[in-house]
Assembly symmetry: C2
Homo-oligomer: 111 residues x 2
Amino acid sequence: MAKLTHPYSRYSLDAVVLLGQLIRRARIERKITAGELADRTGASRGLIHRIEKGDPGCAIGAVFEAAAIVGVRLFDADKATLENTISTNKATLALLPKAVRASKIEARDDF
Amino acid sequence: MAKLTHPYSRYSLDAVVLLGQLIRRARIERKITAGELADRTGASRGLIHRIEKGDPGCAIGAVFEAAAIVGVRLFDADKATLENTISTNKATLALLPKAVRASKIEARDDF
DNA sequence: CATTTATGTATCATAAATAGAACATTAGTA
DNA sequence: TACTAATGTTCTATTTATGATACATAAATG
C-alpha cells in the first residue's frame, strides 16, 4: 500500500479491482498460468496474485505490463495510437500555462 | 521502480506516461496546483510530480486517486457502472476454471 | 479416485517508494 | 519590472512493496 495520508476513495479502489479482474479473466481465457504470466512480466507470482486481487499498492508499471501481456488494452488503443496521443498531448501541454495560480475555491470529492 | 527482472515494454511505459499527461492536463485546466492535488490525494507533492511525469514505479492506487480527483475517468465509467462491471465480472470469473493447465505454447511479446 | 499441477498464503530479507524538508528556478500577476 | 507563488529537484529517514521460498489447499486430468 502506498503511504497516502488519507484512505483511498471507493472509486479508485474499484478501478484497481476491476483492472485486476480483467487481467485475471484474460489470463485464464488464454490458458496462461499465474507462474507463466509472472515470468513473462518479469514479476514474481506473488505480485501477479496481488495485481489480480486489486492491491492498490502495486506499481502501476507492473500492472500495465501484466495487462499488456494478457491482452488487456489500456485506453483501448494500440501502440501507434498511444504514441500519437502522447505527442499530441505534449503539444497541448506546451500551450497550457506551466503554473497555476491557486483559486482554492472549487472542491470535488463526490466521485 | 518496481523490481521487475526484465525491462518494461514500450507499450506499458507509454500508457503510464499518457495517464500522467492526462492528469496534469486536467489539473491545469481546472486550475488546481500540484500542492493542492497532493493534499486532496493524500500524497506528497513529489509523488504528484512523479505521477504526472509517468513514473512506472508509482503505486497504482495513488495514480488512480489523483486521476479521479482531477476528473480523469478510468475505463470511462462512473462509480455505479464500475460497481456493476465488477460484480458481473465476479460472476463470470466464478464460471471460468479456477486453475489453468499450462499449454506453454502461444507467446505474444509483440505489443 | 489418484496424481499432478496450479493456486492461495505466509514469512523474511532486501530493494524501492514515499514523505518531508529545503532550495533553486520558473512563471504568473500586479 | 518587481513580487509572489508554483514548480522542479535533491536529500535523508522511514515505510512499504517485492522476490524468494516454503507450504497447504484446491482443482484439473487421466
